[in-house]
Amino acid sequence: MKVSPIKIALRLAAPLAAAIFAIIVSSIAVLATKKSPVQAFSTMWEFGTQAGSLMEVVNTATPYYIAAIAIAVTFRAGLFNIGVEGQLRLGALFSCYLGAMFVLPPVLHVLAVFIVAMVFGGLWASIAAYLKVRRGVNEVISTIMLNSLAGGLSAYLLSKRFAVVEEGSNNLQTKELPASAHVPDLMPLLRTIGIQDQPGGGVYGMFFVAVALGLIFWFVINRTRFGFELRATGLNPLAARFSGVNSKTMTVSALVISGAIAGLSGLPEVLGQTHSYNLGFRAGIGFTAIAVALLGRNSAGGMAVSALLFGFLEVSSRALELIDIAPETYVIMQGSILLSSVIAYEVVRRFELTLQSKELAKVVAI
């Protein structure tokens, strides 16, 4: 493919336009409360770039990234799994409950917990896959309903079946995972490359899992036959079917793989910090991850950047409280970035198409 300066400029134009639009919108939001946007942004930047905050950014971004990969698998196949929230909740719950029942050598135990999470996430998603393939139920609707069901089911299982009673605490939680199932913090590793300890700092070991998943995702989607068929189904289902791709198999495998990956995305905090599933399990990862996947355009690199961006906004906005601005401003920033970038990419795509057809017209005219 020919690389022209116009094309490169276009590639850069979309994110740039989106960023400018988002900055304008969030400035208006800050101005509406009679505060200075410049002060708000500089406070966020100052706080967010401290070493301790950056570690937290990475910790926040890790589950977003894994969940976004899960969603991207279905997006690439022309499907949409909104059910990541439910799948990761059940994956985390069952991996804590079953993982605490046995003791294995350190690495093996963690792997076993991963498998449990993937199996339950995948099983939950397979309900939607069955309904889609056999009963023709739109997966968007069924996965949303399954989210509500997962919420009810996990609340029931935790309170009535899985919880252990701790004395002097009314927080329901599963039995604590044995040390062999803990994923160690990356701090000792970071110290060897000269990074100082930070108050409250630490980076979840699952960070490496997220990176590995990103690489696997990139490789499978772009360099294997399965990935090609998946993309073909997403881009042109009819053409894919006529070239011999079984669309039902593709639907089922995309949804089940997505569910399995989603199951993993609930684990970074559980295996790295709390070591049990409790009532305070972080909610909303699966929904924010949709935005991360959309913003990152379902590519491994793009989603990594957008996961880190979302994590950065979330963590750094906490400092806004110090200058008396609602920290919830970050939600406005995330939302406006998402919407404006989605539109900007579409405009650029259109513009490129027009350019192409003009070039084509020139060639044909001669």
Binding site: A29, A32, T33, F80, I82, L131, R135, G136, V137, N138, V140, I141, S142, I144, M145, L146, N147, S148, L149, G152, L153, A155, Y156, S159, K160, F287, T288, I290, A291, L294, A326, E328, T329, V331, I332, Q334, G335, S336, L338, L339, V342, I343, E346, V347, R350, L353
Partner: protein
């Protein structure tokens, strides 16, 4: 009158189950009235979906538009009274819809992507605005609005004890319902629940269903709007302004969804509360799909959800009785399977029926967390049973460019 026949059958079956199990709430006026109250927001959302999808724009953003409506209804309703609150809900919903329309129709962004973006933004915006407004507020917390004045209730004259110009009418259905005659009293009490002590907003919302049918299927505007969802290129060639039709459909959609949100905040509750909408926009969409993109069908879908929701809220033992209902449906499908020669399907249905019956007899009481799942299970089951005979508008969800450019 197919609907009337189905309704009679349904009440007859429920009445039988009531007699068998002694769960009086299955057909009580209270359950019927709660079911109606819980159905209305879903009906409004589904009607919104109807206008948008008939114009060819998939609207997953209904959820977000409802959130904006609920927020506006709560906060503006608390300040300026419930009626202005409902107006504000309608306007806020339309503003959300305008964003969706600009993104999908104007820029050709994927409909699902834009809808999801709107849901995320609306939830964030509502939270942000509530937090800001709470600073120095006197109400309980930053996640809710101050209380809104109630809108008064009324019922049908003579039948359900309405009051008109100072005249208190008799309550025929109410007195019939007290008699405890099998089926007749059940029928009367369900009707009493559906027609008595209604909010005026409920009456208006119900009137929207036939109105939507009239607009979409009996007016020129409706024909043009539907043509934009079925065959936009053909419509354009006949002089229909497809863009305008799509904008109109999406804007009406947002107004109705916003009104549904406002209903939640003002009529179903008396203030806005974070997570008040909790998926009702999506359920409205499911009701619309279940109803095969038609007003009557979506009413049935929303009613089913409202009934399941009302039962689980009022009486958790009624859910156990509902298992008998499932058994009956399964036996019915088994019978149909045997008749049409599909032995495997029939056997599977029979086995599931036996299994459900076993659950009914062994489980004394369902735990609360599982009972709350009833409406969602009902939605999934109904979708699984109904999805195969559905037809959505032919060009639904396809981005349209004038002149066929992509």
């Amino acid at each position: 009158m197919k609907i009337l026949r189905y309704a009679t059958m349904l009440i007859f079956v429920l009445a039988s189950i009531r007699v068998l199990t002694g769960v009086s709430n299955l057909t009580s006026a209270g359950t019927a009235s709660a079911a109606l109250l819980l159905s209305i927001p879903i009906v409004l959302a589904a009607l919104g979906g109807l206008f948008s999808e008939r114009a060819g724009v998939v609207n997953i953003g209904l959820e977000g538009m409802m959130i904006m409506g609920a927020w506006a209804g709560g906060f503006i309703g608390a300040k300026h009274g419930p009626w202005l609150g409902l107006m504000a809900a309608l306007i806020f919903g339309s503003v959300g819809a305008l964003v969706h329309a600009v993104a999908t129709v104007g820029f050709g962004v994927d409909h699902v992507v834009s809808g999801v973006a709107i849901n995320i933004i609306a939830a964030g915006l509502a939270r942000y605005l509530s937090t800001i407004l709470y600073q120095g507020g006197s109400w309980p917390g930053p996640s809710q609005s101050p209380d809104v004045d109630a809108i008064s209730l009324n019922g049908l004259p003579v039948l359900s004890g309405g009051h008109y110009f100072g005249w208190k009418s008799p309550d025929l259905l109410g007195s019939l319902a007290q008699n405890n005659w099998f089926f007749i009293s059940d029928f009367a009490s369900v009707l009493r629940g559906l027609t008595g002590d209604l909010s005026y907003v409920t009456m208006v919302a119900i009137a929207f269903v036939p109105l939507a049918f009239f607009i979409l299927w009996r007016t020129t505007f409706g024909l043009r709007l539907r043509s934009a969802g079925e065959a936009p290129i053909a419509a354009e060639s006949l002089g229909v302004n497809v863009y305008a039709m799509k904008y109109a459909g999406v804007l009406i959609s947002g107004g109705l969804a916003g009104l549904g949100g406002g209903f939640l905040a003002i009529v179903a509750a008396n203030h806005y509360q974070e997570n008040q909408v909790s998926g009702r926009g999506y359920i409205g969409l499911a009701a619309l799909i279940f109803g095969n993109y038609r007003p009557g069908g979506l009413l049935a879908g929303a009613g089913l959800f409202g009934f399941a929701d009302a039962l689980q809220l009022r009486d958790s033992s009624a859910i156990r009785a509902l298992i008998l209902f499932v058994v009956l449906i399964l036996i019915f499908t088994a019978f149909k399977g045997f008749k049409s020669g599909n032995q495997i399907k029939a056997l599977v249905s029979l086995v599931s029926a036996a299994f459900s019956l076993w659950i009914f007899f062994t489980v004394e009481e369902l735990p609360g967390q599982l009972v709350t799942m009833t409406p969602y299970i009902a939605t999934i089951l109904v979708m699984a049973l109904a999805s195969q005979r559905l037809r959505m508008p032919a060009a639904d969800g396809v981005p349209y460019r004038r002149g066929g450019m992509r």
